[in-house]
Structures are given as structure tokens and as C-alpha cells.
Symmetry: C2
Subunit: 333 residues, 2 copies
């Protein structure tokens, strides 16, 4: 009998197939590997092909020269623009405003042929530190209400360039899905006076069947109501609403943790395309007792998106308990 | 400057790219054409390869024999099962129930090599009548709260078999996205004492820039806050919450309307993969003054799904005004 499970945060129901659970080899997989070849605007020597950098970690060279290990540049074709006023207006019964915001690209390494999971541990931490630095800079602009950091890895996950990179979009409104998560957490907090994510951590650590692994600062789980096969969450043990408020030791530990999750996925799912998204509180709010920042990683293994888009009802062919077991048992060198 | 637009029903914000709008030829298109070849369980003569039919329109033959023009069968690998009790339970802080429901396939034609847009007008109407018949049968089961009818056309849109077919899933809960649409409509109704869809119809018919075409019973538009390029809605002129309550003349007109939309899309976008979903009220509710059934059609032209899934924030590279113009101007033989 299939299982219907409710996400305790958002209230979304998910169908978990249990009878004919799909294992890693059952998915048509598109292995993501860099091919090189074409001229890449993110490669060293091509610094002039991007807009001027807004941040770089470098051991040599001046701004927009070679010698960097990580570089953040505005997107050449941004979804939003920094200049101008919001100019909120009605159009009959509709509402609009100008597309004010920021859209930046984090070039994670000078090496075109690598991927985030293959970078040294320190470099992965540097990528995370660059996210923190950019968020803390951009949030000074009070027009910006939400900053989302995400990574599309592989063409099937929406990446248009293969050089390893992440993206940051700063928005003048809080996205609906983010607000739902925050509202859902607040509802639970109002009822129990506890953070729902802290409670999830406690229950998962007690039952252990959906734990992938744990570190000093993080617990990696397959969530109870996973929407997608091998959906994986990285939850900080210590409560906090803002990713960008994390201290340096925790960020270093997150580098190791994230790299380990991705390497386990690479092993079990053969270098899958994936989306990773940092879920964090709106930048203009202070600390929140009811919300808990975390990272969600979704390997792109299935295509059944139309029904899901239309209904918000997901059919997941792999029970999270099995996904967690595959990832947990994947030994790394 | 990009445009930020708010969907008046759900409150979802969408970024509409205006500077570098993408036209039909700018998308990497995967033309959907049937190739035949493999043994197809939906073809005439293979009736025994599906579970026994629950409905068929036929001019000859008995049940599960040849002679049908349309056939509805339970999905061989259903996401949900008709048998059993819901058995709602807690698991610590989580909630679950058994996957009780129905999952059926509507085989739209005996001809493997055709597609819904290429069927004769009467056959398209018959497909719609079969949806109505199945909904009206299934809703007698009071455990079922929502019945969703949708079509994935082409592998990129999630179809696993190429023989033309639609699907129906009957659920024991109302999906979150559906509930949001209904709640949003109710909010508007509470404020204005008018149906928001009726108001949208009136405004669109006055401004005309997002109208694709109109018939006696329907208006076809590109919605103001389209999430996807060439997203298209078919809105009935007459208010009603339930698709399955539509009368025969309207259903015949809907057959012509739907066929015309799909043929225009085939022409402008070169037989694109698409998802079509009937948005209708929960089956166990009566008529609602605030909700208005309609069909949403989304051609699958872009892959940027990770960010969108995570945030509910969509970046649409084609303004709906341009999409509507392309579709409006596409002449059909």
C-alpha cells in the first residue's frame, strides 16, 4: 500500500511508493561531467568577459585579473537589476513593481573541469564563506527582503554553463514558498513553543532510520515527506534562523558536511544533476525562535513535473528510509 | 527593466523578463512525434495488457475487446489504491495515512501515431466527456476529496508512453496548491463579493493584450503573472466551480477550444511537450461563488526548475503579452 505522508512544516501531502520502490539503478541517469571545449567566461584569463567582480578570494593579481581561487560577479543577463525604484503600481486588479534586486554568480573554482563535490574541503568552505559575505553586504540595501542562494548542477537541473558555479538572487519580496515554510514553523511554535526543526532533529536522531550521517554541527537526513527520490536535508544542530549568522568553525564543518553529502550522492547516483538551495530567514528580520536555516539538496532523477507543479502534490517512488540507507552505506575513500 | 508581477489569485510573485524577451525560436525545442515500434499496451488488440476497462466508448465489440474509440483503464502501476481504509496515524510529530485513491488512464484514441491536437473535434469532446463521466462516478466514493485530471504530453513533460493518453488521480486529501487557489479566490470574494476569475475575464476582454482567442463559451488567455513562457489558460465565460457540472453544448465547445489552443501551440512552438491540468473544485463541495474551474496548459520549453521548486518564485523569459500575440496570430488551416 502506498504511504501518504504530510510535511509537518508546510502541510504538503506526498505519496511515497512503497510496493515497487525505485532503487538508484532504476532511474535513467544523466551523469554530469564537464566536457570543456567552448570558450568559458568563468575560466581564468577571461575575467573581462564577465561584469566586474564584486568579491574575489585571491593569492595574486588585482581585481578582475588572474590569481583568484573564487570569484563573485553580477550575472551578465540578470533576472533583476540593482538600479531604480520599486514603483509599486496597480494595473486594474493586478499588482506589479519594477524588477529591482541583484543576481550574482559565484564561480566556485578556477578549474573548469571540476565540480563542487570534487573540490578540496577548504575550497568548499570558501564557497560557503563567499555566500555569507555577499548576503551580509547585500542586506544593507533595505529594499531587498530575501536573498536566495542556490546551485543548479548539470543541464538537467537548469545549469547553462558547466564551469562550477552557484547563484544568488536578492529579491524585493519574500517568495511565497519561503513564507509558507516560515508561517508553518510559526504555527507549530505557537502550539508547542518549540522549533519544529529542532523537534524533527530530536525525533530523527532517536529513530535513526532517515539519518544519512552526523557531524559535530550538522545532521544530514532524508526528510519524512521527501518530495523527490534521494531528497536530502542538511540541518544545523544549533538553532538559528539565519545562514549568514553562522560562525567560522560551524562554516568549516559545513564545508566538510556538504562535500560529504555530495560525494555520497555522486557515488550512489553516479554524479547526478542536482539542485541545492539554502533555506534561511528573510534578511531584514532578526533572529527567529521558530525558524531554523538549513540546506535542501534534490538530485534530478525524475521528470514528472507537470502534475507536481499544478497541484503541489508529489509522488515519490523512493521511500526516504531507503534513500537514507543507500547514502548512509556509501563508503567514501 | 524586468517586471515583477503578482498572481492575483495565489499571491505568487513572478519575474517577467522584458528586455531580452525570448521568442518561440529562442527555445531549444523537443518536437513530440510518435515513433511507434515497441509493443504498446494502449493499442487495439492489446486490451488484455491493461487492467480491465472502467469505461469505454465503442461502436463494436464487448468490454475489453477491440472496437473502442476511447478507453479508460486503471493505471497498471497506480500511485494510489482503491482498496482499504485511510487509517490516519501519527508517527511522533509526523502524520500519515494509507494511499487510498484511484489512478486511471484515459486512452484518447485507438491510433498510436496521433496526438490530442490532431484528433477530430468530436473525439476531443469525447475525451472531455470521459473525464466528466469518470469524475461523476468516482465522487460517489466519499473517501475521495479531490480528483485531478491532467495530461503529460511528450517525454520532457513526464509522459512514459507515447500513445495519446491523459491521467486521472483521485485523492483522499485536497492538494495544497489547489487549496491555496481556492483560499486566494475566497479572500478576493470576501473583499469584493465578486469571483476573481470573472473579474479577470472582464479586465482581459477590455484590455485585450493577453487574449489568444474567444469562443461562445470560453476565453483563452496568457495570464498576467504567467510562470512559464506560453502558459495559457482556458477560462469558461459562465461562472461555475465544477468542471464535471458543465453541460453538453459547453463541453462540445470546449472540445473545439482545446483543440484550437493545442493546434496553435503546435504551430508556434513546433509540437512542444506540454502539461495540461484541469483546475476544478474539490468533489465533495457544492457550487462555490468564489471559485471558477478552468484549464491551465504549460508548454515545456525551459528547464530552470530547481530554483522555482525551492522558492515558488518563477522567472519567465517571455512576457505573456508577446506569447498571446504569437498564439493569436497563428493562423490555422
Amino acid at each position: 500500500m502506498p504511504d501518504l505522508r504530510k510535511d509537518p512544516i508546510t502541510g504538503r501531502w506526498v505519496i511515497i511508493a512503497t510496493d515497487r520502490a525505485r532503487r538508484p539503478a532504476d532511474f535513467t541517469r544523466e551523469r554530469v561531467t564537464a566536457t570543456g571545449g567552448r570558450i568559458c567566461p568563468f575560466c581564468p584569463g577571461n575575467e573581462s568577459k564577465t561584469p566586474p567582480e564584486v568579491l574575489a578570494y585571491r593569492s595574486a593579481g588585482g581585481a578582475n585579473e588572474q590569481g583568484w581561487s573564487l570569484r563573485v560577479v553580477p550575472n551578465k543577463f540578470p533576472a533583476l537589476r540593482v538600479e531604480g525604484e520599486l514603483d509599486r503600481q496597480g494595473e486594474g486588479l493586478y499588482d506589479r513593481m519594477n524588477g529591482v534586486g541583484a543576481h550574482e554568480v559565484i564561480i566556485e573554482s578556477p578549474d573548469h573541469m571540476t565540480s563542487l563535490s570534487e573540490l578540496p574541503e577548504k575550497q568548499v568552505s570558501d564557497v560557503l564563506f563567499s555566500f555569507r559575505d555577499r548576503i551580509n553586504d547585500l542586506r544593507k540595501d533595505k529594499r531587498l527582503r530575501y536573498i536566495i542562494v542556490f546551485k543548479n548542477h548539470g543541464a538537467a537541473a537548469g545549469a547553462t554553463l558547466e564551469h562550477p558555479h552557484s547563484q544568488l538572487i536578492a529579491l524585493p519580496v519574500v517568495p511565497k514558498r519561503v513564507q509558507e515554510e516560515i508561517d508553518g514553523s510559526l504555527r507549530y511554535y505557537s502550539f508547542r513553543e518549540r522549533c519544529i526543526f529542532c523537534d524533527i532533529l530530536q525525533q530523527e536522531l532517536a529513530t535513526r532510520q532517515r539519518i544519512v550521517f552526523e557531524t559535530d554541527h550538522f545532521v544530514v537526513i532524508a526528510p519524512y515527506a521527501s518530495r523527490f527520490p534521494f531528497e536530502t536535508w542538511v540541518l544545523p544542530r544549533r538553532h538559528g534562523a539565519h545562514f549568514a549568522a553562522v560562525d567560522a568553525p560551524t562554516m568549516h564543518n559545513l564545508g566538510w558536511t556538504l562535500r560529504t553529502v555530495l560525494r555520497k550522492m555522486d557515488k550512489v547516483l553516479e554524479q547526478p544533476p542536482y539542485n541545492a538551495i539554502i533555506h534561511t530567514a528573510p534578511v531584514q528580520t532578526g533572529e527567529l525562535d521558530h525558524y531554523h536555516w538549513h540546506i535542501e539538496i534534490i538530485p534530478k532523477l525524475t521528470k514528472v513535473a507537470g502534475f507536481e507543479w499544478g497541484t503541489g502534490f508529489y509522488i515519490n517512488p523512493t521511500p526516504p528510509e531507503e534513500a537514507a540507507r543507500f547514502l548512509r552505506e556509501a563508503g567514501l575513500p
